[in-house]
């Protein structure tokens, strides 16, 4: 009991310390390193709270993909970010910002402390009806059956994000291969890693998706691992993605949401309504949706990380 309490206290204190360090960091790069470390500490905290699904998502999507996106953005801004850092806002503005942030934190803390105990929860209802989905993991049941609309919208949001990234491409570069005009620097150690890791990473990514039916895991976490393997091979200069004008590439990005919508529409005719599964085929249909989503999530994340095309192919 005491040992667990000490561990939790140490975890909570280091999370707050790293968060403060991230905010106080002078340079963007340091702040991003702090943000990634903060995400990993946060995912340990989620494990301590018994929500391994959230911990996996935080580590893979929050700290991992989010951190790499920020690193890419900071590298792209380069010297411009440094010039802006010298441009310190006036004191009253800084004080006002601090006060408003403190007010928001205080309000959030008060809202959490004033929640009724026990907190209102649909968890018992979800657990009681889990058998109908033939899934063993209640989180997957919620994400793909009862709250399927949320998951569908998340997948669609990723497609919109890819369109957003592509839309900042210059007119002369449009239709080219995504990413900087110069291929990434070829580092021998990175090339070795990019040859050895992907076979292992692909198995782990698929395992995380597959095991998501009965244990913590799922399409977003597994898709992020798959995306990481592709980005690794891209960074090492071993592969280049197809041009943004290629129909194949665009089909890959929308496959997941389209399959999800098609199966959802099927529910209108064969079951109770949009996104309802026919009782006899619940598990197989969920697996099909998961597989298609994983594939499209991986492709979309890769395209987000690589960025818009910067030169015509």
């Amino acid at each position: 009991m005491t040992a667990a309490l000490l561990l939790d206290l140490a975890l909570a204190l280091s999370a707050v310390a790293v968060a403060l360090w991230t905010v106080a960091a002078k340079r963007a790069f340091e702040a991003i390193v702090g943000f990634i470390a903060f995400g990993l500490l946060l995912s340990l905290a989620w494990v301590r709270l018994g929500t391994v699904d959230v911990a996996l998502t935080e580590a893979a999507v929050g700290a991992g993909a989010g951190g790499v996106l920020l690193l890419g953005a900071s590298a792209r801004l380069g010297t411009r970010a440094l010039a802006e850092a010298k441009d310190v806002p006036i004191l009253p503005l800084r004080v006002a910002t601090g006060l408003l942030c403190a007010l928001l934190s205080g309000a959030l803390g008060w809202a959490i402390l004033s929640l009724p105990t026990p907190a209102p929860s649909l968890a018992p209802l979800a657990a009681a009806n889990l058998a109908a989905t033939e899934l063993g993991n209640p989180v997957s049941g919620v994400l793909l059956a009862w709250r399927a609309m949320d998951t569908l919208l998340e997948a669609v949001a990723l497609v919109l994000a890819v369109i957003g990234v592509w839309s900042v491409a210059g007119d002369d570069a449009w239709g080219g291969i995504p990413g900087p005009a110069q291929p990434p620097r070829r580092d021998p150690a990175l090339r070795l890693a990019a040859r050895i890791l992907p076979p292992i990473g692909v198995v782990i990514g698929v395992h995380i998706v597959w095991t998501g039916a009965d244990a913590p895991g799922g399409a977003f976490q597994g898709g992020t691992v798959l995306a990481a393997m592709w980005v690794l091979a891209w960074m090492a200069g071993l592969v280049r993605p197809p041009a943004v004008s290629s129909r194949k590439m665009r089909t890959w990005v929308v496959t997941g949401p389209l399959v999800f919508i098609a199966i959802g529409l099927l529910g209108c005719f064969l079951a109770d309504g949009f996104l309802a599964y026919p009782a006899a085929f619940t598990k197989p249909l969920i697996l099909v949706v998961e597989a298609a989503l994983t594939f499209s999530i991986a492709v979309a994340l890769v395209l987000l990380l690589i960025g818009p095309p910067e030169a015509a192919s």
Partner: protein, 95 residues
């Protein structure tokens, strides 16, 4: 038997923590980037390895123990790769 496994776990994890602490000390105290990297990658690999070795009897199943071993191997590989890359940049910046 379980007492023996527990004792082994405690000794191995403590030894692993010692190496992790030594690696951190090296990171903080050593004078130049290459020495700091040296301390960090070597000592952390060994420290994590000892912790994994210590946790393997507690994994409950052979598959669980093998997964722990895989995690150590992946962490070693990633650490070695990143160490090489940082060292290359450090040497380029120094010269």
């Amino acid at each position: 038997m379980s007492l023996l496994a527990d004792a082994f776990t405690v000794v191995a994890v403590l030894a692993g923590l010692f190496f992790l602490a030594a690696g951190t000390l090296g990171l903080l105290r050593f004078p130049d980037p290459l020495s700091r990297l040296h301390a960090l990658t070597k000592a952390d690999g060994l420290g994590l390895g000892l912790i994994v070795l210590g946790l393997m009897p507690q994994a409950g199943s052979l598959l669980g123990a093998l997964k722990l071993l895989l995690i150590w191997a992946l962490a070693m590989f990633a650490g070695g790769t990143v160490g090489q890359m940082i060292a290359r940049v450090a040497r380029r910046d120094a010269s």
